[in-house]
Amino acid sequence: MPDELRTTPEGLMASLRERAKELNCLYHVEGALRKRETAPNEVYREVLEALPPGWQYSDICVARLTIEGKTLSSPGFEPSEWVLRADIMVQDTAVGTLEVFYTEKRPRENEGPFLRDEVRLINTIAGLIGHHILRQRLQSIQKDWETLQSQGGVSASEIWRSPLHLLRESDRGLYLRIAHKMLNYLCRIGVSGAQQMLTGETDSLDSEEEVIGEINVPACRFAQDPDYLMSDAPFELASKHLSQTEILGRVQSWMQEDKALGFLRILNNPRSPLPEIVDAMRRFQHGIPNKHILRSSTLKTLRVSLAQRLLTEQIDFVRIAKENMEIEDFYELTGRMVIPAGSHGRLGGKSAGMLLAHRILGRTVDAEQIVGDIKLPKTWYLPSDGILDFIGHNDLQEVIEQKFKETYEVRQEYPDIIRLFKNSTFPPRILNGLSVALDDFADSPLIVRSSSLLEDRLGTAFSGKYKSLFVANQGTKAERLEALADAIAEVYASTFGPDPIEYRRERGLLEFNEEMGIMIQEVVGMKVGKYFFPAFAGVAFSNSEFRWSPRIQREDGLARLVPGIGTRAVDRVADDYPVLLVPGKPNLRVNVAVDEIARYSPKWIDVINLESGTLETKSITDLLKDVGSGFPGFDKVFSLLEEGMLGKAPPRVMFDAEKHELVATFDGLAKTTQFIEHLNNILNILEERLGSPVDIEFAHDGTDFYLLQCRPQSQSDDSGPAPIPKDVDGSDIVFTADRYVSNGWIPDITNIVYVDPERYGRLGSREEMLSVARAVGKLNRLLPTKRFILLGPGRWGSRGDVKLGVSVTYADISNTAMLIEIAKKKGDYVPDLSFGTHFFQDLVESRIRYLPLYPDEEDVIFNERFLLGADNLLPGMVPDFAHLADVIRVIDVPANADGRLLRVLLNADLGEALALFVDPDEDSEQPQPVQKAVSHKPMQYWQWRLRMAERIAAALDPDRFGTVAIYVFGSTKNATAGPESDIDLLIHTRGTDAQDRELASWLEGWGRCLSEMNYLQTGYRTENLLDVHVITDEDIANQTSYASKIGAVTDAARELPLGKP
């Protein structure tokens, strides 16, 4: 239609008239096709008659239909050059053509003289005819089947025929695949003839040889004859060997499998976006209600692909998910996803960990008995690339560079980024999704949690580095949506905060493309009055690095419990204490005396105030006055303190908040429920199934246990007890300790940073105290990594009250080898230590040792004279902080201890620690601790190499080869060997040429064997793992060649015992 016509009322009317004509035409065509009883030719004739009135120049319009070889045309038909044509397709195969002609020339329109709408019209009609034909075919098959049945004439061997014909007519592609499968199957069960059918060869023996072919020559490709497969032949053959039920059963399961493969194709296509995957999954889910008929390999493949696309690409995780998650689990998940347009994101570590753990526990045998009924709070997920959408939508791409800036810049700019993010808008699609989620949540309070791709990976704990935010979710829908979006923006912004970036830098993860998934989760709890909170919540670790009694083993784990919302258990708070429980030894408690228990019990509780819409910290006493014994889990959480005794909480009806003094002890929970037993089992099962120690977060609403998070807990592997020498001269000792000692060995400390507790306490202002933290942060970057230790007063990392300890963040201490807290008496009061809890996991991850010192105790040495008397490097190293020189002392150990280094020995079994000066050339290899548990990790490369070198030396017969000595040096000796490092050996010989040759060949045998062993262990191929350097007396005399390695100052070669097996 010419454009100018559209502008006038006449034009508009003309256009509407054309539209009416088309609709009319369609209406007639559909009417004709719907007449079931009419003979096909009649139907087509009617269709042809209905066509011309639908066209603009209907008076000169004729039509022709060619179908399955027959041709029909409208009255007065005559072909011309002005034609519009459409193929009629049935099952992707053209079965005919529909043509419309103008018998005379007309003005040019979109497609010759034809309008664009007319092109669409003819295509629509061709499509209708195609469907009609297919329906006819299927009906006739059906009818034949019914006739045969009604006549009772279907022979048992023929039952398969009609359904398969139906399939062939309705989906040729599928029929082909199924026929092929049937032949394959027949081959497999050894039906003669099937092989020929499959390969098209007559002589099966020959063909087999052909198939195998020569190595390195591609096998022949056999052209398959589709016509042959499309015939009934494969099934005719099958019906001779298989029962009808079996044929139909197999066909049905192959059809299902085929659907599954379609799903898999979409899943495995890296380009298919999430919405397409979700859609395919929905079809799969409804199309195959009974998954058991699918092969287990198919199901596994699907589960693996789903885990990879939806959850995480971490291979370990996927492997475990494959065994524990069902397709239903994934499907259920998709119902609660907010999917950004074209998303390729995943749910991220935290979500994945939670879901997997829940499934593992749910599938435990006798789960109810062993671990109890474990629930997940209702959760909606926003995939990880939502943040990219958000950044793109608001043109914030610049923030991606943050991670490559200097830490101080990152820190400076972070507040602006938060502001910027919170002032940005969300793409409409995400906003819509969030709106749907909110309808699902109604007005339950929510928590928005980060679930980034990096988070929760093995060996990296971003604990507390990304934000989690509570949203009260009260008010109008618009208000609730705004608050939710605001919280998500803030969590997004935390991706660009200084702490996570520093953490990633240290671990070489900066280049990883971090994306941030979001979990929007219902807060577990109950509404009590105007407050909302759970009975209690907490975190639990399957391996405890915090043991206050030698009776507690690492494997006994540790739980931190608080009443109310778990923030106070997860985050460390300066002025309050969570209740610590050891799931494996529930009867051993940190605090024993009644007043001690009362003093170190939680005094504060985090609750959501539904009226003000905020997260509030309230005193437990005040809250109990408000809510009384309506506190969920009242008698599980609290004990009654009366007459110096802690007893069972009073019965709810007798509780009087004014009179009764309650202490949160969780004694009721421990004594009257299976909670701790279950918790212990949960931790053990998860540790076993996930193959590494775990930590979990949970909440309990008084009735049900909710799992909130599960992730691998990192652990250090140099945890063996170090032997403590008894014959050390007192002047060689810097300090000793006998409380809360863990196991370990910290060699070669060159520097000590000592914050003098007394002088720190005397600093006049908060500002000065904070500047001590900044100075420590700067020293942390300047001093040699893991070669210095930090000693300071009270609680390192204290946040609220900086008098308690130096207010460092993890970034400020990340390079230290050891963090030492000094509890010096103030009057008769010994300050509380943090025991490293401010950055518990970080310390473990970074293998930063923790040790508390109690210098005022008897039998403890604290060499203050050395610490205060040594030269202080501080003014020279950080001139900005020179004024703090009397508070912070930076000591160069060798310069002040006659060239010696400091070594710290820790032995938890003896409960002793010792820091002493040692000569630098003293053997610094860690003595091999007794292997206690089977290690999950492969043995460290250098250890294996060293052991092998020792074996060689032991096996070497000095007399036979004329060998004087054998040494090891390089990466094996320095404990830095990687999987492809070789073993450097130095052999001092006085042998004859013949002996030398014999030795060389003897060693070559060793080298080759070791190469093979190394390959099997690591997958790295090397020609010869031994790198042998032979030296003579002359070399040694002249210090030529590798002889200089013997007795060298750096990297000296180490002699191995020769010929002593």
Binding site: D575, N587, L588, L641, G644, G800
Partner: protein, 429 residues
């Protein structure tokens, strides 16, 4: 006092005894007898641990002297427990009971163990094992244990139960420190604080000062301080300042109201550990001063009832000229140097040993009530406490006045002399 370089409590207790023995001219035989405990029990307590293994704990009970009545003293659970510590403490118990003139001797016991390593069940097993080993050597008429370091009323109930099982009857008087309703006495919470004021009241009487004309500064705001203030206000006194530890700030603060603190009001903003809410106190019109300001207030009376070594050579000079009496509610609040300065200034000292003996007196009442199986009302307990404390004070003060000796020394003289007399009367020495 120091042997092989480390501090030994037993040596110190004996040295203190020797110096008093000189004052009362005690003969050699009596000295030798009183310097050493009469009986010591050393025994082992095998305990089946939660993990099925058996662990053996070492226990002690020392009965220093029972000339005046059954021994009395606590049981300590402590990993670094030594027999010498227990000996010293048992000796101190003898003097303490004697100074308030209650018919009891001195004892002490202990088990070498760290309750942090023990479950409650295992602790119960230790308590019962302890009693099984001693059942024939203790009891209402022989030796009466009580709670001490790391032991609680719960431990006492387990011990009482075991004792009763062995002897086949009810013997609540075998143990003290039990909860009310389980053989405990009313008034225990008040006893120490009230006791301090009973002695203070008598001192004021002696000095002819009307309580209503006095003002006081109190160090601490725990149990002892709160009840001392309560009774002091009842007899007409005015407290202008109290101090307490601030857990959050990790420092002590003094709360002052120059026209007198309102006890009920302050208790309302105090947590169970005696910590006063600073902000709320300011709102109520209290000045918040540094923690050491309690000592330099311009008052008539100082009541240190918080920590050891609070009055030192350094701060003793800050004391106002107005101060007339110091009543030691806490144990050992005055260092020896400061004590000399106080003595020199002529300030009337009511020593800890006498002033805070209300606690042990109430334990004695518990024992008496338990033996009768008849329990008094609160006012009866407090009334009897008043009588005992008053008599004790008067005896010490009279001696001090007559002989012009310092109150602290007079208290020891009175008590050691009473014990020596009892031994002589029995014909032991």
């Amino acid at each position: 006092m120091a042997s092989n370089g480390t501090y030994n409590a037993y040596d110190m207790a004996r040295a203190q005894f020797d110096s008093i023995a000189d004052v009362i001219d005690l003969d050699e035989g009596a000295r030798a007898f009183l310097r050493t405990p009469m009986r010591e029990y050393h025994f082992t307590i095998p305990v089946r641990m939660d993990d099925g293994t058996v662990q053996v704990f070492a226990g002690f009970r020392v009965q220093h002297n029972d000339a005046r009545g059954p021994c009395k003293g606590g049981i300590r659970f402590h990993p670094q427990e030594t027999i010498d510590t227990v000996r010293a403490l048992s000796m101190w118990m003898t003097w303490k009971c004697a100074v308030v003139d209650i018919p009891l001797g001195g004892g002490k016991g202990g088990v070498i163990c760290d309750p942090h390593n023990l479950s409650m069940r295992e602790q119960e097993a230790i308590c019962r094992g302890f009693i099984r080993q001693l059942a024939r050597n203790i009891g209402p008429v022989a030796d009466v244990p009580a709670p001490d370091v790391m032991t609680s009323p719960q431990h006492m109930l387990w011990m009482m139960d075991e004792y009763e099982k062995i002897h086949g009857g009810h013997f609540p008087g075998a143990i003290t420190g039990k909860p009310v309703g389980m053989g405990g006495s009313l008034g225990r919470t008040q006893a120490t604080g009230y006791g301090v004021i009973y002695t203070l009241r008598e001192a004021l009487k002696e000095l002819s000062i009307r309580p209503s004309d006095t003002i006081a500064s109190v160090q601490g705001f725990g149990n002892v301080a709160q009840y001392a203030i309560e009774l002091y206000h009842q007899i007409g006194g005015t407290t202008i300042s109290v101090s307490c530890w601030d857990q959050k700030e990790q420092c002590a603060n003094v709360f002052r109201k120059k026209d007198g603190i309102d006890l009920a009001e302050l208790r309302g903003i105090t947590d169970r550990f005696g910590g006063i809410d600073q902000a709320k106190a300011r709102d109520l019109g209290y000045e918040v001063l540094p923690g050491d300001a309690w000592i330099d207030q311009d008052v008539d009376i100082l009541i240190p009832s918080a920590l050891e070594n609070s009055i030192t050579a350094e701060n003793v000079e800050k004391m106002s000229k107005r101060v007339k009496i110091i009543a030691e509610g806490a144990n050992g609040p005055t260092t020896p140097e400061a004590d000399k300065a106080i003595h020199a200034r002529g300030i009337h000292m009511i020593p800890d040993f006498l002033a805070n003996a209300g606690g042990v007196t109430c334990s004695y009442f518990e024992q008496v009530q338990s033996n009768m199986n008849y329990f008094w009302e609160m006012d009866e307990v407090l009334g009897k406490l008043d009588v005992k404390m008053t008599a004790a004070y008067v005896a010490v003060s009279e001696l001090a006045g007559k002989q012009s000796i310092y109150m602290r020394d007079a208290a020891y003289v009175v008590s050691i002399n009473r014990v020596a007399e009892a031994c002589r009367a029995r014909g032991w020495i």
